[in-house]
């Protein structure tokens, strides 16, 4: 599914990535407010759903080759975070949905978990 479709589904604002959201294909997602857990468990190419707003969100996306970020609960990313995302070409969305609702809508639309279970 295209990121632009996900934007509609979540009534999300586009923070950065006008030219990217019609190109980026999303098949899986990872939702977490713990970056260490993302690093430990997420697989590449996932869409990252988080309430964190600091630049480390973008570093983590870069290290793991994730495809983009959705800030949930209406969180506004810090200016440095947006600047870094622009430099790295990482699309950013912001939704007022809480994490659970965000995950539910995506799952209902066929987006799968980046990892099914943690062993």
């Amino acid at each position: 599914m295209k990121l632009s479709e996900i934007k509609k589904m979540l009534n999300a604002d586009l923070i950065f990535g006008e030219e990217l959201i019609d190109q980026v294909e999303v098949e899986t997602a990872f939702a977490s407010d713990l970056l260490s857990d993302v690093l430990a468990y997420s697989k590449e190419n996932a869409l990252f759903l988080t309430g964190l707003t600091n630049p480390q969100v973008i570093r983590t996306v870069e290290v793991l080759d994730l495809v983009g970020v959705v800030f949930v609960r209406g969180k506004v990313p810090q200016m440095e975070t947006v600047e870094l995302a622009k430099r790295k070409g990482i699309p950013l969305l912001r939704t007022k949905c809480i994490m659970f609702e965000t995950c539910g809508r995506l799952y209902g639309a066929g987006i799968k978990a980046s990892r099914i279970m943690v062993d």
């Binding site: 260490s36 857990d37 690093l39 430990a40 480390q56 570093r59 983590t60 870069e62 793991l64 080759d65």
Partner: protein, 262 residues
């Protein structure tokens, strides 16, 4: 690109935390390592970098591109780790609220490094700092119980002359020390180190024995006498000899991933 890369990482610089790791990732891409290897090294480097930024004044990475592996040596000047076994447990963390607000401090860092490494060795002195030595094998995606560098590998690589046939040169080296002052080596070398020196006095073997060093490389081309070799056998300290100067020997050791203790 050179086979050894050096990176300095400043503590408490939360904005730039992760920059070094993404640089390393780019280098690995340029060298066309398999994607799985790049991913694992990047995650390891990032977790280690975050630890330096969160818990230390500063630290640095040495990155080695070796024949069959990528080796990262992480050294920091920080608070050190009191109990390494405890620190390795998932969920254990001493993070401050500031660190937790960033999304770290979940107690996954070291465990995550271990999970992605083929080999991890940790040395830490509380109040002084921590050294991590991490290998990721490049010839396979899988894990193995690989060993670090041995004196035999060093000997084979640089065509060193083995003067004490029969003594054990298959121990994994814990690092190296270079020096021509016995008191300095006595004070600062560590057990299992290889010692590089130009000295040929028999007391060299006494110090090496006392400090339980893995062996001595006599550099500079001045050959030790029979009394030296005899003493080496009685102390069970393997002796290697080379015409290379000490600086080149140390550079050669570094290219094999053998580092200092500091």
């Amino acid at each position: 690109m050179r086979p050894i890369q050096f990176y300095y990482i400043k503590g408490r610089d939360f904005f730039n935390a992760g920059r070094t790791s993404t640089t390393i990732k780019r280098h690995l891409r340029e060298k066309e390592y398999p994607p799985g290897v790049i991913q694992r090294v990047a995650i390891i480097a990032y977790e280690a970098e975050i630890n330096i930024v969160c818990y230390t004044d500063h630290g640095y990475f040495f990155l080695y591109f070796l024949d069959d592996r990528v080796r990262i040596i992480v050294k920091d000047r920080g608070q050190g780790i009191e109990d390494i076994d405890l620190a390795m447990q998932e969920g254990f963390s001493t993070a401050s609220d500031e660190i937790r607000k960033l999304g770290f401090g979940a107690g996954m860092g070291l465990a995550n490094i271990k999970k992605n490494a083929d080999r991890l060795a940790i040395r830490s002195v509380p109040g002084v700092g921590t050294v991590l030595e991490i290998d990721v094998l490049t010839n396979s995606e899988g894990r193995s119980d690989s060993m670090g560098t041995t004196l035999r590998e060093v000997m084979d690589r640089a065509n060193l002359e083995f003067l004490t046939d029969g003594l054990d040169i298959d121990r994994e080296l814990t690092g190296g020390y270079a020096g021509d002052l016995l008191s300095d080596v006595n004070a600062n070398s560590s057990a299992g180190n290889v010692w590089v020196t130009v000295l040929t006095h028999p007391n060299v073997t006494a110090v090496a024995g006392l400090k339980e060093l893995a062996g001595v490389i006599i550099a500079g081309g001045i050959r030790p006498g029979a009394d030296f070799i005899e003493k080496a056998y009685s102390e069970k300290i393997p002796i290697l000899f080379t015409e290379m100067n000490a600086f080149d020997v140390v550079a050669m050791l570094a290219s094999l991933g053998v580092t200092g203790n500091s």
